[in-house]
Structures are given as structure tokens and as C-alpha cells.
């Protein structure tokens, strides 16, 4: 009975779709011909940010707005407040306003797909920022080069304490792209030139950074340096090292958040590999102009990182 019902409804849908009465969002192919060349003054950029409650993304938005408005473009931005549904609605609203291009910083790489497909079928090009999209056609994806950042951290440690120094790595959430890429970069250098005692996950979390580091200190007393894949874990590790009286251990974080910068200023944290969301936004706007000038755009663009130390 249920099967028959299912079959009937599927048939019903099929007939309707055959008549063209029932269609799916994003079904229509876009008339994706030549790029219509535009000057910056003629361009309206639609910007969808995952959440403005996180300073990182606030800086990203400011980067886009300052760069674009400085060149005479218009920016319309919507905030998804970390909710995937809100993000899709906001992007729909931007499409309705007929923006020329969309800069999207997805809340979730999977759930953003329908919104990108909707933009595709409206013929609006899309650039994703910081997080990629699993589906739909994207012009380019702009993010920090995490692999390079991991390498920078390892090089910095070698510069300070020499080759074959004993190091500990605190990893982020297992499986997260940032964890994989930062770890890969670190290993690229460290496998050959450093002695990695231990590599454990502390889930990008400050209090876990503290406890994981405490546990590691139970088994190793001779540590030269710690690389944490984000600043939060680095700050946690710093506390446990200090409690153990090991203040001479080099600690390197990643991200460049405000707490970390303060600790570097205070001389407790040795360095952080800072992401530059502002710069990421500026690069995005430059890419938009290049696209509308008829230039070629690469599939992925790396935003630069910066090693910040006490000097």
C-alpha cells in the first residue's frame, strides 16, 4: 500500500515535471556567455558573512567593504548569524537585488550548495571566502594557505632552537581542514629536521590545550618547543608549562587573535602565524575587478599569512 502510494506520488511529480509545471530550484541553466566588462564604479558586490559575532569575520567584512568602497563600488552585505537557513535567505535577497557578483563566506560547506546553485541559475558569479563549497559552480575560493603556515611555524622553531630540537604538536579538531593542512605543513618541515615527541589533539580548545599539555609533561620533561595549531590551544599549553616552571619552552600559535597578540606583547607567547582576514577581503575585491576586466581567475587563491613575534 505504502509502495503504491509512493509510486503514485512519484509518477504524479514526474508527469508534472514533464509538463514543466513542477521544477526544482537551480534547474534552469544559466546563460553563461561572455563576461560583461565593468568598471569598479558600476559593480555592486553582494557579501554574505557567516557571523559578525566573530571578530575574524568582522575583519573580513571590513576588508571587503573598505577595498570596494574605496574604489567606488557598492557593497550590500548580509549576516547569517551562523545559521545556514538565514544565510540562504540572505543570499536569495542579494540575488533579488541583482548584485553583479556574490562573495560568500559559508556557515557550512555542504548546506551552502543550494544557495550557490541558485546564484548559478541567476547567472551571478560566486567567490567563496575562508570556507569552500561542496557543490555548485564557484569562480574561485580564497583562504589562508594553512600548509604554508604550518611550514612557517616549523621554520621559526628551527631558527630559535636549532635542528633536531624536541617539539610537541597540539592538533585541532580531527578531520577539520585546518587541522589537516596545518599539520601537513608542519610535518613537511618537522619530519626531517625536528624531533617530534608527541602530536595530540586538543580540539582547538584552550582548556583542552591546558590538560593535554599537562598530560604530555607527565611523560616528557625535556621539551624545547610547542606548536599549537591555533592560538587558543597555545594559550592553554602556556598555562600548564608555566605551572610546571618550564617558561623557557618556545610556544607558537596560529590565527593571530587578540589574546595571543597581547601575550606576545607581554613576552609569554613566542609567536603566532597570523591570518589576515582584512587582507583576504581586499584580495577578494581585487579578484572581482580582475574578473570584470575580463582577466582569468585561478581556481584557488591563497591569502598571505604573517609570522608575528615579539620584535
Amino acid at each position: 500500500m505504502k509502495k503504491v502510494l509512493g509510486l503514485v506520488s512519484v509518477l504524479f511529480m514526474f508527469v508534472l515535471s514533464a509538463c514543466g509545471a513542477a521544477t526544482l530550484e537551480g534547474d534552469q541553466a544559466a546563460d553563461n556567455g561572455e563576461v560583461e566588462e565593468k568598471t569598479p564604479e558600476e559593480i555592486t558586490i553582494g557579501l554574505s558573512i557567516s557571523t559578525l559575532n566573530n571578530p575574524f569575520f568582522g575583519d573580513l567584512q571590513r576588508g571587503v567593504v573598505e577595498a570596494a568602497e574605496g574604489s567606488g563600488s557598492t557593497v550590500r552585505s548580509v549576516d547569517a548569524q551562523d545559521d545556514t537557513a538565514t544565510q540562504i535567505n540572505g543570499i536569495d535577497d542579494l540575488i533579488q537585488q541583482g548584485v553583479d557578483i556574490l562573495l560568500i563566506n559559508p556557515v557550512d560547506s555542504d548546506a551552502i550548495t543550494p544557495a550557490i546553485e541558485a546564484a548559478n541559475s541567476a547567472g551571478i558569479p560566486v567567490i567563496t571566502l575562508d570556507r569552500s563549497s561542496e557543490g555548485g559552480d564557484v569562480l574561485t575560493f580564497i583562504a589562508s594557505d594553512n600548509v604554508e603556515g604550518g611550514e612557517m611555524a616549523a621554520e621559526f622553531i628551527i631558527d630559535l632552537v636549532g635542528e633536531d630540537a624536541s617539539v610537541v604538536q597540539l592538533e585541532g579538531v580531527p578531520g577539520a581542514s585546518a587541522t589537516n593542512e596545518r599539520g601537513e605543513g608542519f610535518r613537511n618541515v618537522a619530519d626531517e629536521r625536528l624531533n617530534v615527541l608527541e602530536s595530540q589533539s586538543a580540539n582547538f580548545n584552550r582548556s583542552e590545550g591546558l590538560t593535554v599539555m599537562e598530560n604530555i609533561l607527565q611523560s616528557y620533561s625535556d621539551i624545547d618547543a610547542v606548536f599549537a595549531q591555533n592560538d587558543e590551544m597555545a594559550l592553554g599549553a602556556l598555562e600548564s608549562l608555566e605551572a610546571a616552571g618550564m617558561t623557557d619552552v618556545i610556544v607558537v600559535g596560529f590565527d593571530g587573535n587578540d589574546d595571543a597578540l597581547d601575550e606576545i606583547e607581554a613576552g609569554r607567547l613566542d609567536a603566532t602565524i597570523a591570518q589576515q582576514p582584512n587582507e583576504m577581503g581586499r584580495i577578494a575585491v581585487d579578484t572581482v575587478y580582475e574578473y570584470f576586466a575580463g582577466g582569468a581567475v585561478e581556481d584557488e587563491i591563497a591569502a598571505p599569512l604573517e609570522l608575528i613575534t615579539a620584535e
Binding site: 512519484v10 526544482l24 545559521d83 536569495d92 548546506a111
Partner: protein
């Protein structure tokens, strides 16, 4: 003299009744006019359909919430119910169950979760605010346990499930059609059937309703089941639209739904309310979200504006 007085009172009552009915509608029209003047794009058919589709998620939850609030209760668990039933539906589709059956199972799941709320409140004698506050965190927690904190994606679901949230029938978004049908059905239940009359009676005076022979426990339990089912329905639309069941979906949706109900003139004290008002309330909130986006106003201000509109609505309701 006496007769004259009652006549005046009646006249006043009628006027306030008219006001209650027309107030939200006038507010909606004024709001739409203002947004149109500031950005003509707003009134274009494409944007209006877009707006209606955006509204459907909140409207469906708010319809169920209207029943609950008319009984003098509240349902804070709708957002979590939405998330849990969506995750389970996505899970069974991923396991290979045909989407039509999965959709039915999802709706029943929502009704079941709502029924638990109802039983807690009637049999357990727990205050609705506390009972649904507890189930709100329980259902959210179960969603996180079931999904292990990760969104469920790539479950496919075939054309029927995709059509649920992303389809168009004769150019009208399918969620809008679902919402229209749900509205018609619930309108008949609330305003034309004895079940609806019992719902109002319980909210007006539960003691009197009991004496009049209304099985208030049963009615209330069903009312919470309706609320749960509507939350699940709206969750299925969301899941289909996003092609992904998010463990954090529906967070704080209860607040938007309650706001829609209150703006629509339903009294939080129970016993008074109209489903049409709730529909208009949801449209007002949707127009605010869509319109403020179109006008390019920062989301920080949007939240302030939304709060101000709710206060104005309640104050107007008090004034008459």
C-alpha cells in the same frame, strides 16, 4: 440608561475587535509600502515569492504555536523538535527508505515529540514554560547525539524529497503551497470545529471548561502534538532546501514563532487569538527581514528593529 451603557460598551468592544482584526494587517501594508518606496525591487513578483518562501518556515511553526498559546501554554521546544525530526528523517532516507514514507515518519516523529510535551504538562502537571524548556535542551541534545554534532548531508532523497523544499509548482515555490494548505486545514480545525472551540475554552477558563465536560488533558496533549508536527513539517522544508540536516537547525526559532503569534494579536494569557493574525505576524517579521536586507541595513540594527516592532505590537494590543 442601563441599556444605553451596555450599548456603548458593546460598540466599544466591537470597535476594539475590529481594531484587533485590522491592526496587524494595516501594519503589514504600511510596512510593505515603506519598503517599496525605499527599494522598488521589493514589490517585484520574484521577490514576493522569495519572501513567501522565506516566511513559510516560521509561519508553519507559528501556526502550531498559536494553538498552544490559545490554551494559555507555550512551546519552547519547537526549534529542537525541528532539528531532531529533521535529523531522523535524513537518517532514514540515507538508510534507503523512500522519501514519501520518510516524510510521513518525520511528521509523526514531530507529533510524538510534541505529545511528550503535552503529557508532561497535563499528566505531570509541569508548567508549560518549564516542561518545554527542559525538552528543548533534551531534544537538542538527542539531535547532537544522533548526528554526533555533524550535519547529515548527501543523503539524496530523490526528486520527491528535493521537491518538498526546492520545488516550484506552476511557478509557485512548493513550501508556499504547503503553508497555504496547512493554514487552511488548521484554520478549519481552530475556528470551525469543536476541537477549536475546546481549545479556546481551555485557554479562557480551564476550570469552567472542565466543568463543562471538556477533557482538557486530551485536548492539550493534541495541541502540543500539532505544534510538534508543524515544527517537523517546517524542518523538512528546511532540510530539503539546504539539502542537509543541521544539528543546530532551528536554534531560537521558537522566539520568531512566538513573536509572530503575539504580533498577530493572540493573547499570551490564552483564550483569545486568530490564526489569520499569526499569518500576518509571520509576514510582518518576514517582510522586516527581507526588506531590511534589501535596504542594506546592518543585521545588528535588524535585531533592534524586530524587537521594537514586537513591543509596538504588544503596546497597541494593550491600548484598546
Amino acid at each position: 440608561m442601563e441599556a444605553k451603557n451596555t450599548a456603548i460598551i458593546k460598540k466599544k468592544e466591537r470597535r476594539s475587535d475590529l481594531y484587533r482584526k485590522l491592526g496587524p494587517l494595516i501594519a503589514l501594508i504600511v510596512l510593505m509600502a515603506i519598503v517599496t518606496v525605499m527599494n522598488v525591487n521589493f514589490i517585484q513578483p520574484n521577490n514576493l515569492l522569495n519572501l513567501l518562501r522565506q516566511v513559510s518556515v516560521n509561519a508553519l511553526i507559528a501556526f502550531g504555536m498559536t494553538f498552544v498559546i490559545i490554551t494559555g501554554g507555550i512551546d519552547l521546544s519547537v526549534g529542537s523538535t525541528l532539528a531532531l525530526s529533521s535529523a531522523l528523517t535524513a537518517g532514514i532516507i540515507a538508510a534507503g527508505v523512500p522519501s514519501v514514507i520518510a516524510i510521513a515518519a518525520g511528521l509523526l516523529m514531530g507529533a510524538f515529540l510534541g505529545m511528550i510535551n503535552g503529557l508532561l504538562i497535563t499528566k505531570g502537571n509541569v508548567a508549560p514554560f518549564i516542561g518545554t524548556l527542559a525538552t528543548m535542551t533534551i531534544y537538542r541534545g538527542l539531535t547532537l547525539v544522533y548526528t554526533q554534532g555533524n550535519p547529515i548531508t548527501g543523503f539524496g532523497g530523490g526528486f520527491a524529497f528535493q521537491f518538498f523544499g526546492r520545488g516550484y509548482l506552476f511557478g509557485i515555490p512548493f513550501p508556499v503551497i504547503i503553508t497555504t494548505v496547512a493554514f487552511a486545514a488548521l484554520f478549519v480545525i481552530l475556528h470551525k470545529m469543536t476541537f477549536g472551540r475546546k481549545t479556546f475554552a481551555i485557554g479562557g477558563n480551564e476550570q469552567a471548561a472542565y466543568i463543562a465536560g471538556i477533557k482538557s488533558d486530551r485536548v492539550k496533549t493534541m495541541v502540543y502534538a500539532i505544534s510538534g508536527m508543524m515544527a517537523a513539517l517546517s524542518g523538512l522544508i528546511l532540510t530539503s532546501r539546504l539539502n542537509s540536516a543541521q544539528p543546530t537547525a532551528g536554534t531560537a526559532y521558537e522566539l520568531d514563532a512566538i513573536a509572530a503569534v503575539v504580533i498577530g494579536g493572540t493573547s499570551l494569557a490564552g483564550g483569545k487569538g486568530r490564526l489569520v493574525g499569526t499569518l500576518i505576524g509571520a509576514l510582518i517579521i518576514g517582510t522586516l527581514n527581507n526588506g531590511l536586507n534589501l535596504l542594506g541595513i546592518s543585521s545588528f540594527y535588524q535585531q533592534v528593529v524586530r524587537g521594537v516592532v514586537i513591543i509596538i505590537a504588544v503596546l497597541l494590543d494593550r491600548k484598546k
